[in-house]
């Protein structure tokens, strides 16, 4: 149950990041003026990002209800790995080898904290 709540919170918060980036690129990049912000705020991406962030935070509170914060918070960094994979696969960004190395360190750290 702890694992399910924690992984759902991590996935939702990571999805919120990717949606924010998509929304910012699609509706704000290279479009000066305030109209872009208004369009961005009601766009599918940003509305979806806010929904994921809200639900993710609610699940995160449920995680903190059950787990030590010194254990749960470092594990939230697993979202970094998800965001990196999504940047490559969904957003088509180039990810350098040192960054993948960093993701592996994060994964190792999360595994140790999970075992603690």
């Amino acid at each position: 149950m702890d694992e399910l709540l924690l992984s759902s919170a991590i996935v939702l918060l990571a999805v919120a990041q990717v949606l924010q980036k998509r929304g910012a690129v699609r509706h704000l990049a290279g479009k000066p003026g305030t109209g872009g912000w208004r369009r961005a705020l009601v766009s599918r991406e940003i509305v979806g990002a806010i929904a994921c962030l809200t639900l993710g935070t609610a699940l995160w509170l449920a995680v903190l209800y059950r787990m030590d914060v010194s254990k749960a918070f470092p594990m939230l960094s697993a979202g970094t790995i998800l965001v990196l994979v999504a940047s490559r696969v969904l957003l088509g960004e180039r990810v350098s080898p040192p960054r993948w190395g960093g993701a592996i360190l994060v994964a190792l750290g999360v595994a140790l904290v999970a075992a603690s």
Binding site: L61, T80, G92, G102
Partner: protein, 136 residues
């Protein structure tokens, strides 16, 4: 570029990191209290019983929200690759406070401390190297 001095960006960065860590700690204090009281007490809405737990949680969520706003101010001034590694600091702050602050007094184990340090190193490496390009 902004006409505001460089110190504004650094202040926003420090504010964001401290608020983010403080938010996690306050949320944990609130949810930990609620755990001790029993979540069923929420239904009774007896403020004398649940007030502190709810207040800590709300304070934590507000602090977390404020840290995101400060973070946006940071991103408006610095490249993500410069700013993001500093977020690793929040893991250190949360770990130190959660284990040392008597309100939480969480157990400190070598495994958890070492795992947290690996996470910090990974976060720094993920964000501080290479030149990624976003195709148009």
């Amino acid at each position: 570029m902004s006409a505001r001095p460089r110190s504004f960006g650094l202040a926003a960065l420090a504010t964001s990191i401290v608020l983010s860590a403080a938010g996690q700690l306050a949320m944990k204090v609130g949810m930990g209290d609620l755990h001790r009281i029993g979540i069923g007490e929420l239904a009774n809405a007896d403020w004398a019983a649940i007030g502190p737990a709810v207040s800590w949680t709300m304070l934590g969520v507000a602090s977390y929200g404020a840290s995101m706003i400060a973070w946006l101010l940071v991103l408006a001034r610095y490249p993500l690759s410069y700013a993001y590694p500093f977020l690793g600091m929040s893991y250190v702050l949360v770990y130190a406070a959660a284990t040392q602050w008597s309100a939480l007094a969480e157990p400190s184990t070598p495994l958890r401390a070492f795992g947290t340090l690996l996470v910090v190193a990974g976060v720094v490496l993920v964000s501080s190297t290479g030149e990624d390009r976003t195709p148009a």
